[in-house]
């Protein structure tokens, strides 16, 4: 089975080889493990891009293959980030509090300790007690389970309600936008239990690894992100091979016809929607410790729209297209908005890329949609046709 799967999908092997090579290259050039030509902050950027690629691959499966234009998958990404962030914040604050109370002659009781941690974390929103959703935050294992369970359950319930009522097309897209908007607005409130618009911060400090420099930690996350992208890619390629892939693509092209073949279309959509949400959650859990901070603005509707733009520019309906589009656009974006691109002086007006980048991105998106529906991935299709 394994063997025939890779034999049937040579593009998966090509992808894994490229990813492996890229990872190796970065490792050799990085500060902690090699020549030091790549700074720690750039390693973090690359690691984050890999996580974004993973969520984009999930988006491609749900949109490019199954035809569900979900504009809410970044909500699942954010939930994954919050879930792991809660443990990071709790464990780190606990260590700090224990240290500061260590000088006292009478050791603190468990309640005192708990109150001190809560005050430390929630003082910023005027609270001093742990909300209910932090019940498991002391346990890394439980919070890691949340990374999978919460996005999975949310997608399952949301998808069940939406697909069962046969909401499709643009209406479904609007519904998913509403979902991520509602979640973001809720989290913006101070009493949501997740520190309102302050979000969770200091996530780059990994409890238990205080002595390890960031350059090394960032390499660890970079490798983990690369591994997750590789595994996620293989998982989705497996799902999309054979009969399952056939049915999923058929649902995209004509779901009514698939029903008359005896397939329960809603179950398939629910399967795809939930699986991709879980992978998005995992990608988020790897992303935010590298970003260091998560706040509700991360899951604003625009984030999920970006996701669709990346996939469209890369070429939807091709898993590697999603990766190429995301890597290309998000790296370009950080170059333009980070002040890397020189401003263009037209004499009467200066184009400042930090402002005009969005205009450029929007225009490219429209151009790709109108003139190159296959996106960047189309180039590979042409190459493949040329050689065969």
């Amino acid at each position: 089975m394994r063997k025939s799967f890779f034999a049937d999908n040579p593009s998966v092997l090509w992808f894994l080889a490229c990813l492996g090579l890229f990872t190796l290259g970065v490792t050799v050039l990085a500060e902690a493990t090699g020549a030091g030509l790549i700074s720690t902050s750039f390693v973090k950027t690359l690691g984050k891009v890999l996580c974004l690629c993973l969520v984009a691959v999930a988006m491609d499966v749900v949109w490019g293959y199954c035809g569900i234009l979900s504009l809410g998958h970044f909500a699942f990404f954010g939930i994954g980030g919050y879930a792991v962030g809660m443990w990071l914040m709790y464990a780190r604050t606990e260590a700090i509090v224990i240290q500061s109370l260590a000088e006292r002659t009478i050791p603190p009781t468990a309640t005192e300790l708990n109150d001190a941690i809560a005050t430390q974390i929630f003082g910023v929103v005027g609270a001093s007690e742990f909300p209910l959703i932090w019940a498991f935050s002391h346990s890394l294992i439980l919070q890691l389970m949340m990374v999978v369970l919460v996005p999975g359950l949310l997608a399952l319930i949301f998808g069940w309600l939406a697909f069962r009522s046969r909401v499709t097309g643009v209406y479904l897209s609007i519904l998913t936008q509403a979902m991520t908007l509602a979640l973001a607005l809720y989290l913006f409130q101070n009493d949501s239990g997740l520190r309102g618009n302050n979000g969770l911060s200091g996530l780059q400090n990994i409890p238990g690894f205080e002595a390890v420099p960031q350059s090394v930690i960032s390499m660890g996350f970079f490798w983990a992100s690369a591994l997750a992208l590789g595994l996620g890619y293989v998982l989705f390629a497996r799902v999309l091979t054979g009969k399952m892939g056939s049915v999923i693509r058929a649902i995209r092209d004509d779901e009514a016809r698939v029903r008359f073949l005896g397939y329960h279309v809603e179950s398939y959509k629910l399967f795809v929607f939930t699986l991709t949400a879980i992978v998005a959650g995992i990608a988020g859990a790897l992303y935010y410790p590298q970003a260091g901070i998560i706040n509700p603005a991360e899951i604003a509707p625009i984030a999920s729209i970006y996701l669709a733009v990346w996939v469209a520019i890369g070429g939807r309906g091709r898993l590697y297209g999603a990766v190429i589009g995301t890597a290309f656009v998000s790296l370009l974006s950080s170059w333009f908005t980070g002040g890397g691109a020189p401003n263009i002086n037209l004499g009467f007006y200066t184009i400042q890329w930090t402002e005009w980048w969005l205009v450029l991105l929007g225009t490219s998106f429209v151009a790709v949609t109108l003139f190159f529906p296959g996106g960047i991935g189309m180039i590979f299709d042409k190459l493949k046709k040329g050689t065969s």
Partner: protein, 246 residues
């Protein structure tokens, strides 16, 4: 021959327009039946009701030995009960190969996890080969369905229908847009299928219906106007009035 499907007292209206009006219909197994009628007679709605696409306002649709009520079941459940449908416009999955199209239709468990862990079997491959031979598409198995001619698409759809191994086939205008030779082949396939199952053919083309050589039901304004052999119904004065014209 036992009764396979029975509709009784079925009515449905859309915005006040009675598309189907107190319709009664029966078909046995095996049997071939042709349904004719002028535009708006309710032929497509009739199929929509049987396949679960449209819910009737009243009436009963009973299926099989146990007389299961089909009303309220979903399209996919009804398809799994053993009712296959071919649409007027050939609807095959153009982006996929002929083999993939047939494999998807092949009678097998339909749940997502069963399909995810489905393994190609020699048995299934043989069945696909046999079907492809039957519908003249052996050479085309690896081509995308979108590249086929109109007639070949029609056959592929019939092939997918047969792959489902249904007990009842509902076929909407199978000969539309076909050359005479293709029509002949289509007739052959349908007559062969009707030896072991129930086949309902909706058709406009009288010549084609005559060649099927079966019982004919004439629909008019949502109910049955006449039933019998083709010669019997074409001589019925009412039928001549509403449908054939003088």
């Amino acid at each position: 021959m036992s009764t396979l499907l029975e509709l009784s007292g079925v009515s449905v209206s859309f915005d006040g327009f009675k598309a189907i009006n107190n319709l009664a219909f029966q078909i046995g197994e095996p049997e071939m039946r042709a349904i004719i009628g002028p535009n708006g007679a309710g032929k497509t709605t009739f199929m929509d009701i049987i396949t679960g696409k449209t819910k009737p306002d009243e009436g009963r649709v009973l299926w099989g030995e146990k007389s299961i009520n089909l009303i309220g079941k979903s399209e996919s459940q009804i398809a799994r009960e053993g009712i296959g449908r071919k649409f007027q416009k050939p609807t095959v999955f153009e982006d996929q190969t002929v083999r993939e199209n047939l494999a998807m239709a092949l009678k097998n468990p339909r749940g997502p996890f069963e399909v995810l862990f489905y393994r190609k079997s020699a048995d299934g491959a043989l069945r696909i080969e046999a079907l492809a031979a039957e519908i003249n598409l052996t050479e085309q198995l690896l081509r995308k369905a979108g590249e086929l001619s109109h007639g070949q698409k029609q056959w592929l759809e019939i092939g997918m229908l047969l792959a489902q191994d249904p007990r009842l086939l509902l076929v909407d205008e199978p000969a539309a847009g076909m050359t005479p030779a293709e029509r002949e082949k289509t007739t052959e396939i349908l007559v062969e299928a009707a030896k072991t199952r129930a086949v309902v053919v909706v058709e406009h083309d009288m010549e084609f219906v005559r060649r099927l050589n079966c019982k004919v039901t004439v629909l008019h304004e949502g109910s049955v106007l006449a039933e019998g052999s083709i010669d019997h119904v074409t001589q019925n004065p009412e039928v001549i009035d509403v449908y054939l014209g003088r």
